[in-house]
Structures are given as structure tokens and as C-alpha cells.
Amino acid sequence: MAEIIARGVRFHVQRLAARDQSSTLTRPVVFIHGLGLDNLSSFYYTLANPVAHGGATVILYDLRGHGLSERPRTGYQVTDSVADLAAILQTLNISGPVHLVGNSYGGTVALGFAVAYPERVASMVLIEAHVPVPGWAEQMATTIRGIGSDLSEGELGRWMAQNRKYARLAEFGKDLIHHTTFVTDLLATEPLAAQKLRIFTRPVLAVYGEQSDVIHHAHVLDGLLPHYTLTVLPDVDHSVLPKATRMVRTIVQEWFAAQ
């Protein structure tokens, strides 16, 4: 297993070699997964291989506290996630611009990275990206606390305990929510630096589900990003990646073929 140390934390990283050497896609594509029970496997089984076959070197990693990466007690602010990504790329000797693909909170990290290091982003694909608008952090913290409580004392926890796979996920979720600074760090999130996004000149593709609870974030981005393309998928909620995999795959493949 590929493990690297960045910012003193052990990260699980997967690197897929480009399959089509004739491709003009010379920059690596970095996938950033969502929060909580998500990890790099959601991209590994859906978009990573097709993008590698399209000719890009692909990097996937588990966020700190997630998947097979280490779960330290602290360091869960969005700024930490952005610093982690920068440190991981540095450890992998990737210094030039990269294409970022973020799902849900992974999109939040991609946006934060683009604000902090605009020259290091070739393009972004934001799938159901959460945008830290005012009030977002409080809403997320409330949702996550609710999940934590349901995992510990509610029906969800009892149901998950019956199956090894879900029991492990539940234990992971409880530890992250109850025994790290995950929730308090989320609450400390600063609203997105909108003025900095307005001068981000690289192309951005956003994919949202028509019935998503964060569809309004798609329209917030529309007003900020100069080179913004939005695709809204009908009859899909926030779970665009697992529920509309084929559609998302086609959209993302076409996007990278055009880069």
C-alpha cells in the first residue's frame, strides 16, 4: 500500500499510471473525496480508472482521518485539508499545475486550494461541491452531530452494528465525530474568499443533482467563477457520484478530452 507522510500525518495514496501515452493531458488529475464515511474508493471504482485510461496520471488519497489514512485528533479545518493536499503533492514531487476533481467536501477543498494556490490548478471538476457560504459550517456541524448521535444511540447505529462492514464504518464515524476536533474545526471554517475566486481564470466544470440539498451552491459559484460550466443532472440528489455514475463518467471523460 502506498503510504506517505505529509505534515506529520500518514496518508494512504493511490497513483494510477496514464494508460494512453498519446494523450495531450499532461497534468496529473487529483481526486478528493467527501467527508465522514467517504474515502478514495468512491472515486477508485468510478472515475479514476477511466480518467487514467484517457491518458492522465491519476492521484487518489484518503483525507486525514478517513479511509486508510491516519486519524489524528486534530487538524480538520478546511485550511488543514488544503495544506494537507499541498504537502502531499510536494511529497509526490508534483510541483506544476494539476487538475482537481472534488466530490462534496472534496470540492470545498479544491476551491480552497484554488484560492490559496491559483497557479497550481489547471482546471477543476466540482461534483456536488459544498461551498463555505455564511452559515454553511453551522449547518454541516449540526448535520454531523446528528449523525454522530444516531450512530451512538439511534436506529442507524443499531442497524449498522449487525454487519461487519457497516459496524466498522460506524466505529470509524463515531471516533471521528466524538473523539477528534472534526466538528469544532468545521465550525471554525471561514466563508469562501469570493473576491479571490473571481480572478481564478482556469476552467471549472460543476456537476450537481437537480434534487440536491446544495444545488444553490452551484448558483453561488456561477456568480463567482469567470470560466464556469454547470451541468445539472435530472432526478438525482446529492449522491450524484454513486447514483449517476455512468452519466458523471461520460461528462468528466468528455471534459478532460477537451482540456
Binding site: M1, L16, N39, S41, Y45, N49, P50, R164, T245
Partner: protein, 98 residues
């Protein structure tokens, strides 16, 4: 390598991933399913893919094998499907080398 030898190696890898204690009550054979029987988490399956790559190297392109399958097909796979794929790759590699 024979199919039985490959199965023995895969069984050892799976036991390491799910833990010897949980594996104790299971008889991991060709029909064992990753989802129903082993209740493997999707990230644990990534771990298996990495272990296979470390063990068999370029002779077995497991990433390409997974690329042909949808998520639900991967989840529902059996040990036997993985063993059969590895056996076919090794046979091909031997034939090419020979």
C-alpha cells in the same frame, strides 16, 4: 502457479485484511463473496488490489480488470473470479515469456 496455490495466497491476503479473528469462522473458498460472506468494505477492496499488485507486479493488471466492472459488480464479486483472473494473467505472462 496452480489455481489452488493462487487461492491459498488470496485467502492469506483476505485474512490479513479482515483480521484473523473474523476470518476464523469463515472458510474462504472460490465461492466466497466479498460482500455477503466477507462483508468487505470498499476501501478494504482497494487494499486487496494493492496487495495483488505488490505480489504479482506487472503480470496482473488488476486495475484494468476493475475498470471493466461497475461498482455493484465489484461489490458482488467472489474470490473465485479474482483467482481466475490472476490465473489467466499468469498463464498469459508465462506464454509470452516462454
Amino acid at each position: 502457479m496452480t489455481v489452488e496455490q493462487i487461492l491459498t495466497e488470496i485467502r492469506a491476503m483476505l485474512t490479513e485484511i479482515i483480521g484473523a479473528e473474523y476470518a476464523l469462522g469463515l472458510d474462504i473458498g472460490m465461492d466466497t463473496s466479498f460482500d455477503n460472506d466477507l462483508q468487505l468494505e470498499s476501501i478494504e477492496f482497494v487494499k486487496l488490489a494493492t496487495m495483488l499488485a505488490e505480489r504479482y507486479g506487472d503480470r496482473v493488471d488488476f486495475v484494468a480488470f476493475l475498470a471493466t466492472k461497475e461498482l455493484d459488480e465489484i461489490i458482488e464479486m467472489t474470490t473465485g473470479e479474482v483467482v481466475a483472473y490472476i490465473a489467466s494473467c499468469l498463464t498469459l505472462a508465462d506464454a509470452t515469456d516462454g
